[in-house]
């Protein structure tokens, strides 16, 4: 199962349905909702944290949290 932590530089994905307990409400409020698009913008020099564009919100989160957000990776970015 792919998660936000699996994205490579510049790659995008669509967030899948997830169970309520795993993610903090704050993350949902910043736009982490099923169906929204996540893009990996930048990875910190030591691979962690990662810097993502979450449907317009530019935020940095740690890899441990990124691993909780499941998504479908969009292989062909030109289609979006």
């Amino acid at each position: 199962m792919a998660t936000v932590a699996d994205l490579v530089h510049g790659q995008k994905g669509v967030i899948k349905e997830f169970s309520e307990h795993t993610l903090p409400i704050k993350l949902l409020e910043l736009g982490c909702l099923p169906g929204n698009i996540v893009e990996l913008v930048q990875v910190a020099p030591l691979k962690d944290p990662i810097y993502i564009n979450l449907s317009g919100s530019h935020i940095a989160i740690r890899r441990s949290l990124a691993r909780c957000i499941e998504l479908d990776i969009i292989e062909d970015t030109s289609a979006i």
Binding site: P24, I25, K26, P45, L46, D48, P49, S57, H58, A60
Partner: protein, 740 residues
């Protein structure tokens, strides 16, 4: 009709809320704290059309009414409490045009509290560059409110916002989202149990852990007709609420908000590539750090020297102008010296806040957090701990307050506990005078030993902070939710007005906050040093005069006179070429007589001090500091430093009965001081021992007080005090025993 309109400004972080506040209020603003907590409270007055006045309250930035920190709960507490004197007649939600969707989440929450809510869309000047088009009229209809399109950078739209505020009575208070849609059965039951209450308010009372509402919460829990849900269920409902809100927002924005990505231009990506680069990112960060240090320690020395001179001159002037007496002494030596001790730190504090505010305003600080997080984590710290640790080099007080942004309690607590190890500006005068005394001149690879020692002391402080963080991380068993979330805002050129206000406010709060304590201590010190109970104290003049007649001046005074005269003679012959031998002798004779008088006065003063309250206290304290290589005078200076470190130099100045605070003079006096064994009292061993003691000891009452406030318990500051002091004592003792 004279009632002011209460306006609350609320919005996400990084939306330019403070700029809107500054534009509305100008300089008519006041910064304080909310009662009992250290969250900053900013208020101001704004004149509206038709002579109406608005009282504007700038609430701490928050993403939603679901709070995760102390700062955020302030907003909720206010908006739920109609009896609060600041309860708003109208709320203004500040949004930034690029993140409108996310900002509207907070808007709908506040609107649902049935408070008239105006939407101010800020940074309108960026719209064309980002390819954004907005249909304001249609969006007003969808959101059921009035919208002001504002650009604080250009100063546009503020008048329109004021107009909307003045017309707040015509605004609709109908909610955006029907709360019962979240869970019809549950909310139906809730409404039945409390028919007179607003559903969304009840919902917030149930879900939020906010202080004052515990009574109301009890009421809800006590209602028999209605059962509370488990934590998981509540979270599920909050999730549902968020989804519903976004549905409403997406619907509202579908026709009204368009982004043409073809026209969108941004330099965020390219700047980020450089600033968070694995090599350049760190290089740039360290270059900026160097610049900050340069400013704090080099540039600010000019205004500091000037302030020092002015206060010395002022003290002299007071003594000469006012009739001599206790009151004059208190004014000149106690109060004025005390105020000088505070004012002297203003340049450093101002420089530090200038840089911090520039870094924050520009959006760079978030990148530093991003870069440093992984490096700090093995030590139990967070990327967000970097800001406090940097601020700590000026003063631990604002640094401890800056830890509030760290969401994880354990990381935050560790940061608070280790921050006082970083070398704050109060340690600097102590280091400077000791280095000048005991570290030889000379250089290694072009760097002087003295500069290297100072750098080493900074590294020791920082290293100790990191090391103790690691130890604390290992031994502390605190479970805490680890949420690390940093917004990476777009880069902006900082607004001069915002930066200037921040520097002004923070400096002011330092002067009046920490200043009070330093002032109080200097007065107490002065009193204890200039009063005594024994005959030795009251008859000091006779006793010393008799002794001098019988035994002559002390070796110390003789050395002092001799050194002074030989310097004087060299100076005299160098300046006046061909001066006659007789003239030199005459001049020296006058000078010697003068010096003997001064030495006498000094011996009387130091005899008095030795038998003052503080002298007896120091003598009692001496056995404790002897293993560290200190005598009773240094002991007193160390003891009084437990109130605040910078008192050290001032205390020694008083003890060595030097009239002014001029460091060169104190330095010479200290250099001439001998230990009972006849060697200089300040030698390499005792000097290093003192420096290490000051590097590690927790000698700052204000920091302890702020740690108590921020951790809400005496446990942590007392632990800090005990551990740091014992550690300082042991290292200082070991260093002295090895070196001597």
């Amino acid at each position: 009709m004279s009632k002011n309109i209460n306006v609350a400004l609320i919005g996400n972080p990084n939306t330019g809320k403070t700029s809107v506040f500054n534009q509305l209020t100008g300089l008519k603003q006041k910064v304080g704290n909310y009662p009992g907590i250290t969250v900053e409270k900013k208020e101001g007055i704004c004149k509206l059309p038709r002579g109406v006045k608005a009282h504007i309250l700038d609430l701490p930035g928050t993403y939603s009414l679901n709070t995760t920190s102390l700062d955020e709960s302030v907003a909720v507490e206010l908006l739920l409490n109609k009896n609060n004197k600041d309860y708003p007649d109208v709320a203004v939600v500040i949004s930034d045009v690029e993140n409108l969707k996310r900002n509207l989440l907070l808007f709908t929450q506040i609107k649902d509290l049935r408070i008239p809510t105006i939407l101010a869309i800020n940074m309108a000047d960026r719209m064309s560059r980002k390819g954004i088009t907005l249909d304001i009229a249609a969006l007003e209809e969808k959101l059921d409110t009035k919208i002001a399109l504002v650009s604080t950078r250009k100063g546009n739209g503020i008048d329109q916002l004021k107009q909307h505020i003045a017309d707040y009575k015509s605004l609709s208070t109908k909610p955006n989202l029907d709360t019962t849609r979240i869970a019809p059965v549950y909310f139906g039951g809730l409404q039945k149990a409390f028919p007179n209450e607003d559903l969304y308010k009840l919902w917030l009372v149930i879900t939020q852990d906010v202080n004052f509402m515990s009574i109301e919460k009890n009421r809800i829990e006590a209602a028999t007709s209605f059962s509370l849900k488990s934590k998981e269920e509540l979270k599920r409902l909050q999730h549902k609420e968020t989804v519903l809100r976004y549905q409403f927002i997406n619907n509202a924005l579908k026709e009204t908000y368009k982004v043409d990505f073809q026209n969108a231009k941004g330099f965020r990506g390219s700047i980020d590539k450089v600033l968070t680069h694995k090599v350049f990112g760190y290089l740039i960060f360290f270059a900026i750090l160097l610049l900050i240090f340069q400013a704090i320690f080099d540039w600010s020395s000019y205004p500091m020297d000037y302030i020092d001179e002015q206060f010395a001159a002022g003290s002299e002037w007071l003594k000469n102008t006012l009739p001599p007496g206790v009151l004059t002494d208190l004014l000149a030596e106690g109060i004025l010296a005390g105020i000088g001790g505070i004012v002297i730190f203003i340049p450093q504090i101002a420089f530090l806040f200038l840089f911090i505010s520039l870094l924050e305003e520009s959006g760079y600080m978030s990148r530093v957090v991003f870069l440093m997080d992984r490096l700090m984590r093995p030590f139990g710290l967070s990327g967000k701990s970097v800001v406090p640790l940097i601020s700590g080099t000026a003063c631990a007080i604002p640094a401890v307050m800056a830890t509030r942004t760290i969401e994880n309690w354990k990381e935050r607590l560790i940061t608070i506990l280790v921050t006082p190890f970083t070398t704050c500006s109060a340690r600097l005068p102590v280091y400077l005078i000791l280095i000048a005394l005991v570290i030889p001149e000379g250089s290694l690879l072009g760097l002087s030993y003295q500069a290297l020692t100072l750098m080493l002391l900074y590294l020791i402080g920082f290293g100790m902070a990191i090391f103790s963080a690691m130890v604390l991380n290992k031994i502390m068993r605190i479970k805490s939710r680890s949420l690390f979330l940093v917004e990476m805002p777009t880069y902006r050129i900082p607004l001069f007005k915002n930066v200037a206000y921040t520097v002004l406010e923070k400096t002011k709060s330092f002067v009046f906050g920490a200043g009070k304590i330093i002032l109080a201590i200097s007065i107490v010190l002065w009193f204890l040093g200039s009063n005594g109970f024994s005959d030795d104290f009251h008859d000091a003049e006779n006793i010393v005069n008799n002794r001098i007649e019988a035994q002559g001046l002390t070796t110390y005074s003789k050395n002092y006179i001799q050194n002074n005269i030989s310097d004087y003679t060299t100076g005299l012959t160098a300046e006046h070429e061909g001066i006659s031998q007789e003239a030199v002798q005459d001049s020296i004779q006058v000078r010697t007589a003068d010096l003997i008088e001064r030495a006498k006065a000094q011996e009387i003063a130091s005899h008095k001090l030795e038998h003052s309250y503080i002298g007896y206290a120091g003598k009692a304290f001496e056995p404790l500091v002897r293993p560290l290589g200190y005598d009773w005078k240094i002991g007193i200076a160390v003891l009084t430093s437990f109130a605040a470190r910078e008192v050290f130099v001032g205390t020694l100045a008083t003890i060595y009965s030097v009239g002014s605070d001029e460091e060169e003079t104190i330095k010479n006096r200290m250099a001439a001081e001998l230990s009972p064994s006849g060697k200089p009292l300040f030698n390499l061993a005792s000097g290093i021992s003192l420096m290490l003691f000051y590097a590690f000891a927790m000698q700052c009452m204000s920091t302890l007080a702020i740690v108590k406030r921020e951790t809400n318990s005496w446990k942590w500051p007392l632990l800090q005090l005990t551990f740091m002091s014992i550690f300082a004592y042991l290292t200082a003792m070991i260093a002295y025993q090895i070196l001597s």
